[in-house]
């Protein structure tokens, strides 16, 4: 398998960025970029020979000619026509990888900073210095290395100590592919200060029918006793490729609650990696994917228990329709020092068609002895008895199926702490499961 064409495009883009650095080519930042790009060239784009990419084949990427940071006339009105646009909160919006001020509401809340990477480098260099690129694995992951090398923007969100922000912070990503195939590399950093609480919502949407390739990294640092809610909502077109890595570092007594909800997307690969770098940490990871047509959704999660007395809980659910594919790979590491760890993982799937497939694989590696761990994965069809029972009460079969699928999905949606978002999701899920 070869990725010659696409590799060449990335190389050209890298050179292009290097040419336009205006004398900043010697900065530490740029050194890191160069290092990462060398790393990318070594690792390349993962093929199905790579154990972690066995079921997710990127080969068709090579057939496409992408344009980078492509111009767009995507307007406020266009945004308003998209789902989730009425969701209220502080928001920062990127269109084709470029920050769009008009579509953003950065807000003016003291103790909260919502900046673009360029501004953050100017205004809070110490935060960038300390956290940016420090958590994500770029030595082994080709696409993360590529992201590091090519991303020249992204959002930087910093919540000071001791602050509870009620309204969510929304990061919107619009791929405007009305006229061209586009590639986007964005890198975000979220720092939640000690004893603070925040809700982050990432929303991915497409305008148009051409192809987008989004290669994203979001690093989240959750400091001591902080609480971070993180919702990733994906509603992209059937031509889209999305490879997104969310890398979370949790400190003592912190909480991280996430829900990754894939409504639509052609090829979706979500990596959610949690490193528990302290004691008495708690986290919950929920996921829901409802692919139809030929959509492909792959969720890889990793929880690395490094220290004692932590708990992780994971529930991913999928409804696979038509000829769609689902992949779930959940790694849990419990290191030698991580005594008294509780780690639970569950992946449940319903397949509604004979041509849909699901590959799920739990992967527990436990080096400590005093731990409670469990995992389970199920994939099955809806219960015929239940469908007949509903029919016998006057509910037509398609409606009976839909009701059960919606109920199945609700376990995940109900975990979301933003009521408005929950309602929007319910409507979209109900419509899709029709």
């Amino acid at each position: 398998m070869s990725f010659q064409n696409i590799q060449a495009q990335f190389e050209a883009e890298f050179e292009n960025i290097q040419k336009n650095l205006n004398g900043k080519s010697g900065s530490d930042f740029n050194k890191m970029r160069n290092h990462s790009f060398a790393q990318f060239k070594k690792l390349g784009i993962p093929t199905v020979k790579h154990e972690d990419w066995k079921y997710s084949n990127l080969k068709n990427l090579d057939k496409i000619q992408f344009s980078f940071n492509s111009d767009s006339n995507f307007s406020k009105k266009d945004l308003e026509a998209l789902p989730f646009s009425s969701l209220e909160g502080i928001s920062i919006c990127f269109v084709n990888g470029v920050f769009n001020e008009e579509l953003s509401t950065l807000g003016n809340v003291p103790k909260i900073k919502v900046l673009t990477l360029e501004t953050a480098v100017e205004q809070i260099p110490e935060v960038i210095e300390k956290h940016y690129g420090k958590y994500v694995e770029t030595e082994k992951e080709g696409l993360s290395a590529l992201n590091n090398a090519l991303s020249n923007t992204g959002s930087v969100i910093v919540i000071d100590k001791n602050y509870v922000l009620e309204s969510p912070i929304i990061i919107r990503y619009i791929s405007d592919v009305k006229s061209e195939d586009i590639a986007v590399n964005l890198h975000n950093l979220i720092v939640v200060g000690e004893h603070s609480e925040v809700k982050i919502v990432e929303i991915f949407q497409t305008e148009g029918q051409k192809t987008s390739f989004s290669n994203l990294v979001t690093e989240i640092f959750v400091d001591k006793e902080a609480i971070a809610h993180y919702y990733k909502i994906q509603d992209e077109n059937d031509q889209s490729y999305h490879v997104g890595t969310t890398q979370v570092n949790q400190e003592d007594k912190s909480y991280f609650y996430s829900a990754t909800i894939t409504l639509n997307g052609g090829f979706v690969r979500n990596n959610l990696n949690l490193v528990l770098n302290g004691q008495y940490i708690d986290n919950h990871m929920y996921g829901l994917y409802i692919p139809n047509g030929k959509q492909h959704v792959d969720n890889h999660t990793l929880v690395d228990h490094k220290m004692p007395n932590c708990e992780s809980n994971e529930l991913y659910k999928g409804v696979l329709m038509d000829s769609s594919n689902g992949v779930f790979n959940g790694k849990i590491f419990v290191r030698e020092d991580a005594q008294k760890t509780n780690a639970y993982q569950n992946c449940r799937n319903v397949i509604t068609s004979d041509s849909a497939t699901m590959n799920s694989k739990p992967q527990l590696e436990i080096w400590a002895d005093d731990v409670k761990c469990s995992h389970g994965t199920t994939t099955g069809k809806l219960n015929d008895e239940a469908i007949f029972y509903m029919q016998s009460r006057g509910i037509p079969k398609p409606e009976a199926i839909r009701l059960q699928l919606v109920a199945f999905a609700e376990d995940v949606v109900s975990q979301i702490k933003i009521e408005e978002l929950r309602e929007m999701l319910d409507t979209m899920i109900e419509n899709k499961l029709k």
């Binding site: 239940a386 007949f388 029972y389 009460r393 509910i395 009701l403 109920a407 199945f408």
Partner: protein, 256 residues
């Protein structure tokens, strides 16, 4: 109301119903008894439209319509209700939500406007009271974690809500304590009317003290081998099924 003629059905290659004849007029209650495995639940399921059973012969006419032509949900909309011997658990769907959907789908079938939330709640409160079912139970996932008795009572509650013209109760009395049995019987008796009929499948004469049937039939090896009035149930209680079995087996042998 319901006319079953020479109904035959099988599952996979096994013949289970082997020529059932039964005529039910409006307002009548028919009890069906018979040994385990004789085909009682199969008959009930075939009437409700379960697809696992293949009807291989005979006809069923319901209020002038060919029942066997209708999908299960259409049968329900036409007024057939089956209280299941083993009610199914449906995680995540509350009884309330379930019934609201059911009622409005049936209304849609009859080209009626859906009930709004207030109308529905009023109806539900009224019916819940009539079968003494706890509101809390109705807010839980349908039948999930319900006790055996609660499941059965929930079936009667659903029947009260849907007001069918033919209620088929498949062993709704088994597993009920004596108080619950009375509540279930009361529920049925309240629904009794000149144009509503019931088929009551039971193993116990006890239920028939409360729901007094017009006719009692014995099903054995997929046929109705004896019919009578409520006295037949008393006789069965006393003598068991052996005498009926040997009569029926002898008759079948003589016909071969």
């Amino acid at each position: 109301m319901l006319k079953i003629s020479n109904l035959q059905a099988r599952v996979e290659s096994k013949e289970i119903l082997r020529g059932i004849n039964l005529d039910i007029k409006p307002g009548e209650i028919h009890a069906i008894m018979g040994p385990n495995g004789s085909g009682k639940s199969t008959l009930a399921s075939v009437l409700a439209g379960r697809e696992d059973y293949e009807v291989t012969g005979g006809t069923v006419e319901f209020n002038g319509k060919d029942l066997l032509e209708l999908a299960p949900e259409e049968r329900a909309a036409e007024g057939i209700f089956l209280a299941f011997q083993y009610p199914v658990e449906i995680p995540g769907v509350t009884t309330i939500n379930f019934l609201k959907t059911a009622i409005n789908q049936i209304r849609k079938y009859h080209e009626k406007e859906p009930l709004d939330a207030a109308q529905f709640l009023k109806l539900m409160k009224e019916k819940a009271k009539s079968v003494k079912i706890d509101d809390q139970l109705l807010r839980r996932s349908l039948n999930e974690g319900f006790s055996g008795g609660e499941k059965k009572r929930n079936e009667i509650f659903q029947m009260a809500m849907l007001e069918p013209s033919l209620g088929i109760l498949d062993e709704t009395d088994s597993g009920l304590d004596i108080d619950a049995l009375k509540i279930v019987a009361d529920g049925v008796n309240q629904l009794r009317s000149a144009d509503r009929s019931f088929i009551v499948v039971t193993h116990y004469q006890r239920l028939l003290d409360y729901i007094v049937p017009d006719f009692v039939h014995v099903l054995y090896k997929g046929r109705i081998v004896k019919s009578g009035t409520k006295e037949l149930a008393l006789e069965l209680e006393e003598k068991g099924y052996d005498w009926i079995k040997s009569e029926a087996d002898a008759l079948e042998a003589s016909m071969v």
